[in-house]
Each structure stands twice: as structure tokens, then as C-alpha cells.
Symmetry: C2
Amino acid sequence: MTPAEHAELALLVEVAGTPKPGNVDRERDLADLHFEQFLAGAVGARDGLEAAEDGPVGDAFETAVAGMADGSGTNTQFGCLLLLTPLVRAASRGDLSPEGVTEVVEATTVADAEAFYRAFEHAEVAVPDPPEGIDALDARRGAAAIPALRERGLTLEDVMDLSTDHDANAREWLQGFPRVFRAAARIEAGRGPLADRAASAFLTLLAEEFDTLVVTEHGEGVAREVQERALSLQRADADEVREFADDLVERGINPGTTADLTAAAVFVALERGVSVRG
Amino acid sequence: MTPAEHAELALLVEVAGTPKPGNVDRERDLADLHFEQFLAGAVGARDGLEAAEDGPVGDAFETAVAGMADGSGTNTQFGCLLLLTPLVRAASRGDLSPEGVTEVVEATTVADAEAFYRAFEHAEVAVPDPPEGIDALDARRGAAAIPALRERGLTLEDVMDLSTDHDANAREWLQGFPRVFRAAARIEAGRGPLADRAASAFLTLLAEEFDTLVVTEHGEGVAREVQERALSLQRADADEVREFADDLVERGINPGTTADLTAAAVFVALERGVSVRG
């Protein structure tokens, strides 16, 4: 399979993995978000993922997000695609490693940043208020922020650098994707069906650091509570994990950034030869 | 979405639909066949489905089967692809109707038939013994049957015509896909999540005629028993259907042709505007 095919498959395996408390998975829909929408989002993203193999990362990301939104009708996998796009490019260049993906990140341009901002016009994305003094770069402004980007000469790497304090995905971009590669190694070392290993990777990632989407939507206190509960469930049985999942759904808490990291880790594991054949 | 994207999505929605007694679905793996393998088969088939939009149907089918087998490691969706390939072509030509797909079928050539036989070399497919006197055209011979095809000048339509008595998919090819279009209309008229409607279409198709893969693998008596049981379950509750599913799995009975028809019907429904947004 090509990197783009592996990336699309990673999106599908991620959503199939169960239990992934607070998220849609093989066993759970949310009231206004169905499993099929994630399937359609993955199918729709494929063209953008193919573009990431040999075109600019920013344009590829925007194409992937537009296709995802066209397929699913909503934001199903924006954060996953933000991680997958540079990883697909690194894989396609033959160096899917922290160094290889850092080279891709460092090669991003102002044009990539512009495409990233345009991507926000295709889907609704939860974003915290920007730090004081950089309102002009608020991602919610979409393409309207482009003049400010150009004026300051900000590349996509620079833009991600502005978000490392409140977005775990941006931290991955700036630091060589450390959590993704570690989670991929755990998936590679695991046993059993790949979607089960993805779900297990999700729980470990959730216990490892608090989910920044939960911070954005519910505050740091809730995010820490979720993290601690995930930590306490590392050796729990399925019923306890399911109870945790029920609780998160009831409270509308969705650790979406942790799902993004999981999809990216599944991609790396697939590229390294992990098989769906169980 | 393009016809190829809808076709890939139809493969994914089909396998997600639950309960589909005897088949892998969102809630059930078989001992040696996992949900993820169907996800990977669908991703792998995409290139062939794209080729069906504007290339020869036979080559597109072979490419789709090769990609499916490369992705899943087995035969997950051979029959689905046999139905989807001409349907994608008809949709791409702007006439997804019994007449439109019949035009595609009637335009097939000996080269399409050759590619169809080559496709059997990529995956293991359950095929009954050929009728007496046409051993030379046994599909299990793969490319070795090509000289016999050429000698007799058989197109892919002709080859399907030889199988109408024992293969419901071949009957669809020859008769303008009547069961597929009827099931698609039921899916269009249905309500609720699309994968649930796909599962309901599966049960209706199973009750409507006996599954020809079950005949091939277990004989007509078993196939009739399965059909009658499906008929008796048309208004049953979920537990009764689940009991039926358990029984089929225990006995190794897999109504795979009915799943093929379901995937094709989901494709037609998607092309006609049915949405995953539930």
C-alpha cells in the first residue's frame, strides 16, 4: 500500500478501535455524530492524502480537509489530517522518522500557512482564543488572516509554534512527533486485531498527558480529571472502561486530540509493516 | 463525491451494517476474518474503482480485486466489486439505471473476460464446479482459461451468462441489476443511520431469494433453510436476529452474495443522494 492508502486506512482503523472513551468508535455513535460519517470523512480525505505524497503540505492538508468535510458533512478528522499530512510526506520521501518529519516541517512556507488557514473555512474546528496581541492570526478568521501571515512572513511551522502551549498536535509538529512515534512502537509491539491495539494506544495516550481539545472545550480541570481517570484504568477490565466512556459521553467530553495522535500512530505502525491480518 | 468514492464508501458502510447474520459486521468478527481486513480491502480497491470510471470494466475489476487482496490479505469483497465495477461505469457515464448498466454489460469484450479470469489469481473465490462440457472455462483455472475464452470469442457478458443458474451476481449482470435497484429504493426510503438501513436491506435480500454462495458451500437445502429463517425474522426483534447470527457463525454459514448485493445497493442509494449524515 502507498503512504496515502495507509493514511486513509489509519483513519478507518482509528475510528473502529473500541473502547475509545468519549469518541465515536466501532461500538458507539454520539447523538449527532455517526460512525458512517467517519468512514465518509476518511474516503473524502484520500485525494488530499495522495497530494501530500508529492505536493506542498499545506495545499494537501486543505484538500484533505475539504474532502473530509464534503464526505462527512462535519469536522470528523481535522486534527488527524494535520498530523497525517506531514507524516505521509515524510514516508513518501523515504524517511518516516522524527528527523524525516522534522525536515518536512522545517521546509514549510508561508503558502503552506495560508492553505492551513483556508482549511478552517471547510469545517468547524474548536480553537481557543489566541494569545494577546495576535488576534490577527486567530485561526477562526480563516483566509482573512492571510494578509497578517504574509506581513509577518510566517511559515506553517511558525504558525504551529504559536500553538504549542494549547495544542498537543502543534507540539508534535515542533518536536518531531515524539508521542506519535512512541505510540506507534507500542502498537507494533502489541498483539491481536489492529483496531484493539489502536484502542489500547488511545487509552495510554490519554493517561500520558491531558487532552488539549478537552482543555479548549471544558477547561484544564476537567482535562486533568479525565487524564487521571485514564491513568487509573490502565489495568482495568472492559466494564470499568465502558463506565468511563458512558460518563464522558454523558458529559459531552470528547478527547479528540488523543484520537488524532492515535490515528497518526496507526499510520506509522502500518508503514512499519504492522498488518490488519491479525 | 465521485462514483469511485461512493463505491468505496459503500463497501465500508456495508461491512459496518449490523446485524448481518453470518457476515463480519460492526459488531462481529469471524475467527479468521476481522473487520479491519474489510476496511483495508475497501481502501485497496479504490484505484480499481477509479479505473472503472473511464477504463475497461474487466481491467478495472482486476485492479480492484488485486488492490483488495493486497490490502486485506484475503478475499473480502470480490463479489461486491464484480457488481460495483459496471455500476460505477454506468454512474460515470451519467446513466445509473437498469438500462444504463445493461449498456455497460453489453459493451464488454473478450479482453474484459480475460481480465475477469485473471482476477481469480489474486484471491481465493468459492466457485461451484462448471457445467459439464465447459471445464475449459472453470474460473478456478484463472489465466489458463484465456485461450478457451478467445477461441470461443466470449465477452464478459457471455461469461456471466454461463453462471446465471448458480450465481445471483451473474443474474444481476444479465438482468439489469433488478435486486440491487429494488434494495437501493428501500434504502432510500428508509430512515436512521445508513449502516442500519444497509443491515435491514441485507435481511430483506436474504429473505427474498436464497444466497448462492451458501448453495455453493453448503448445498441448496441449507440455503433454503437460511432464506426461510430470514423470512420469518422480517419483523423480529434484535435478539432473535442475533440468535440467528450466532447460529450461522457456529455452522460456518456465510451469506456472502447477499452482502455483495447490499454493498451494490448502498452504492446506488449514495449516488441518488442518500447521505451518511443520518
